[in-house]
Assembly symmetry: D2
Homo-oligomer: 347 residues x 4
């Protein structure tokens, strides 16, 4: 960490800052420059980083040198994390497509969808029994009945179940039925929920928040991992923007960026990023082209009758079309590029 002092800072003000640095267990390296005085802090413990340096007289700004995430960071865990869900692997070169309805409605529909997406190559089934909705007057999810339908469909198809948990008090119930837990965009920074999930032992798909940065997304993964759980899948579902053409704005550059910073798998949810069926497939395809470890997509045979988000549902045949296209796609691999590029290669 580097503390930049204001023009005209006094020796006393510099000493006051340096004194506090040392009293908090680090060392201060004062560099009185011709233009500006800066104080380097040697031995950056997390607590020191969080001290209110801006409240000291004479301080202009604080520049952070290192990132605050550790367990999620590739610096501390250089090899890719591979997550195994009943034999289905994701990460480290294993890709995985997850598909299913937005909300669980009838067993008939969910089973039909599950069979269709499995036939097309999906390896897990998604479906929400608890739904976060912006209006209290709309469908809030089918609850345990929905979870039971998922369980039945799993028995028939063998597909592991991905479903959302919205609050700490739902954990006991949802964990009885789910194979993989999903944390939605409105809960990405629900820190109590993250900590509770981190104490459990099932893999988690952690979506980015409505307006989180990539590094905040990693800090939320860190919350989970700091409690012990290692199996976190980062899911990009786009962030809020002034662009109204799409429901959210998803930058595929964040796929290689997160893979560079972190060893965790990164998947793309183009159903929520676009919010409209016509764009789900090209963005999913582009995400895999950019090197994503997988996809999570919404599929429904009768979108008019879907209990939520029908606009963005793919028809089963749309999904099949995408999967066929993906068979022929050779993703852009940063690792291959680096290998090709040799020592001075791509970062």
């Amino acid at each position: 960490m580097i503390i930049v002092m204001k023009n005209g800072v006094t020796a006393e003000q510099i000493n006051e800052v340096a004194r506090h640095i040392e009293s908090w267990g680090a060392r201060a390296h004062v560099d009185r420059g011709e233009i500006q005085t800066v104080i380097g802090v040697i031995g950056d413990k997390a607590e020191i980083l969080r001290k209110p340096w801006g409240s000291f007289a004479g301080v202009e700004k604080v520049l952070e040198v290192s990132d605050p995430f550790k367990m999620a960071s590739r610096k501390f865990h250089p090899t890719d994390t591979v997550i195994d869900v009943e034999g289905v692997k994701i990460g480290g070169g294993h890709t995985c497509v997850i598909a299913g309805p937005c909300s669980v409605d009838t067993e008939e529909y969910v089973l039909a969808i599950a069979k269709a997406v499995k036939a097309s190559g999906a390896k897990m089934l998604r479906g929400g029994a608890f739904k976060p909705r912006t209006s209290p007057y709309t469908f809030q999810g089918s609850g345990e009945d929905g979870l039971k339908i998922l369980q039945t469909v799993k028995k028939e198809t063998g597909l592991p179940i991905v479903t959302e948990v919205m609050s700490v008090d739902q954990i006991d119930l949802v964990y009885r039925y789910a194979d993989v837990i999903q944390v939605g965009a409105r809960n990405t920074q629900n820190f109590n929920l993250l900590k509770a999930i981190g104490k459990m032992n099932k893999p988690v798909i952690l979506k980015n928040g409505i307006a989180t940065t990539a590094k905040e997304h990693l800090m939320s993964a860190e919350y989970i991992m700091s409690e012990g759980l290692k199996d976190v899948i980062l899911c990009l579902r786009g962030t809020r923007s002034y662009e109204t053409a799409m429901r959210n704005s998803l930058d595929v550059a964040l796929i290689p960026y997160l893979q560079e910073l972190s060893h965790l798998p990164v998947i793309v949810d183009s159903s929520h990023s676009t919010g409209a069926r016509a764009y789900v497939n090209p963005v999913a395809y582009a995400g895999m082209a950019a090197g994503a470890d997988g996809l999570i997509l919404e599929v429904h045979p009768k979108p008019h009758e879907a209990l939520s988000d029908g606009e963005q549902a793919l028809l089963p045949r749309d999904f099949e079309y995408l999967m066929r296209k993906l068979d022929d796609l050779k993703p852009f691999s940063q690792k291959d590029w680096v290998k090709f590029d040799g020592e001075n290669g791509a970062k």
Copy 2:
């Protein structure tokens, strides 16, 4: 609600949409224009608004005519809501300044702050015992010990207590000590928490989310109110922006905007919107000038030692300076303007 059909829409596609509208209990009014065909939906029930109209063939887009909030709306409750907390009133012309430390640390400090802000004119005491932090490695709050300190300080000073609840499982504990419950920006769309709070009987300060719009902020109030609770205070703490000068970006235009749309009181948190002591006071003053019903501000005598957010803490004498300035301020009242302006007046 108005459904705009695409160029070249077929009669069959129009009929399909109209048929569904009627089957869902509303009436369809088809207007075949020279340029574009639109279908008006008469009898907009909430459920119909949420149907996936975009998934029908031939539909270009859907235009919503009316807002989805009801209990929070001034249309359904024309007079200002006045909230009474042990005799302290807010709303309907009653203004209220709330102040205190970001986090509860020692009884000595909290008591000193409480006495100081009371002497300057604050009417309630804020202080967090549970803290949402982006890093799991920083101070997470003092918990029940902190709540007990707040209780002791209330006994000494008589100031009602405002404190945050972060999750459903904290409700029992926090409600034993708090007079007013605060919902923070990361929980604005934690719908399970909102519903649980709506079933309780203490006033709530509901902050806007990291990147919510004003109407989404009102929808979150609606979640609480739909469960029965009427006493909701809307708090503006800024939203995320590409501008990095401030921690967040707060548009004071939203004060009269929310007051026009809703009957609920609107207060300003310029500690969190600016994130830096130097700007807290001018923004607080400007917020009151624009007609806010109150303020919630962070004050600490030794910001270097504050357990969180020291950069944005006002010193007690800064707070006193602000309160003296506020004594002389005549806020801009939309109602006075309308009265002055007569019948054709300001909307």
Copy 3:
């Protein structure tokens, strides 16, 4: 256009609006609903759309039914525009990769780059002689000397030249050397420049603005086209966001979105969207996967010595690697999907 009236609107206020609609040459269709009164405006001329409807008493809001762009719209020109630059085609199934240095520096370097990118498959050469820079103290471009270098390199390699024009007074000079004119992000809404370019007869690459929406991007194309020029290439270079990981944020969903709304070719500039060499290639590849009509990329053999934007320059061998990967890529074609999907197919 539909004008939504407020609750409690009077008959007189409705008549006042209707009277103005008719006086401006359109017809008013008043629909007094149970909940809300709306006025449909039949015969939407552009000028009527722009009247200050919000300033009439009783008006709540105005909903636009149709988009304001015409010549850029696929509604008015259903077939893809194909642009031909000395035999190099772009649009309508013809893809084209443009590459070269950010700024023109020495003839030696530009020639070396041109030969390298041509060998790898680039079909046009880009290079800036006039540079928009945020600081007046940095390199502002090599001016006519740079243009002459481009001309010389064109003679040697045969590659058509793409270069930027920053203001109306540069047009005469730049048009003597350029084959394709580039309009940069800071000039996307420089309407005087757009009109002047629209009167000339060379193809234009129009970048989106720092924070324009896709529809505003099309409106800027409309400015050019309304003056007579038909050959406009839309270029996506990302928009500003609170995400700081990348220089800008680029949503590949806008590629099929713009292609659906407009008949103009859409290309991707992942050098400027990412701002960092490591992410240029995967985003370029993903953009082509999503169906882009081409790329425009920065290449430099010695990025340390580049006069601008060295961080985002690809090395010639990076570019070659990308071009080899692109040989094997089968883009996701919306048209093929629709064909596969049949009548009820993807919108």
Copy 4:
């Protein structure tokens, strides 16, 4: 400037960076930390700051210590700039309200507006003769006829004229009529225009861009000032946001922030920030409360008939009401606060 090196950086990579720093005329101070190696650059010349440090192997990121603006900075010019326009002063404690129509239409209207706003206390008249509009099919301004009307009205009322120049080729014409030149939001980063204006000798009102940061706004002022002109007024008109309630989002915290960083006057344009008459007055009042040096507002007696932006026009009596309210307002002065606060005072 500080260059942060990656984990695992080699001695050779460090030397390569250091060698380049020295070759470009600065000194390198290498600090091999326990966690991270950083290289301080002593003697930051602007050109060195702009070198592509990110393109060197082993570099993780670059932290800028000092701001790139000089002439606009208070560091280099500690006292407030006071601008004098025919005896009307702005800055350094002198406030000034500018009002008038958005577009110049008829002499009758402009004269009536000018007389009305002068009677209420406005000190300059604004009015656009050249209009930047997002659609080429809407009114583009009255051109020289409009400028002549402004001249006539100035003769009658004595109010100095503020009007916009949109491009370099309009400068000769507009400078014959204008007393103060306005640069609009779409031209804030039209660097050729800024440089041309900087060579002229009339004061400039420089609006922030659609999505510029406060520091970029200052860099655009620097462009003008680097050519010689000293009289620049910074105007805040809001920036783009995902919030759709207002036309733009204006954070009043930027008023004291800009005044701290720069010696230039800062004024508020709440007509364009809000885009709706009902919010113009409260935001204008709040802006002055936060310490702005002035306002620029749109006034029209018949908003329905205004040629542009009628929704946001104040009626003359709305403007009068605001001016009466401003008479009683005591702005929040950062300087008074610092004086009150003494040595350890507000930054």
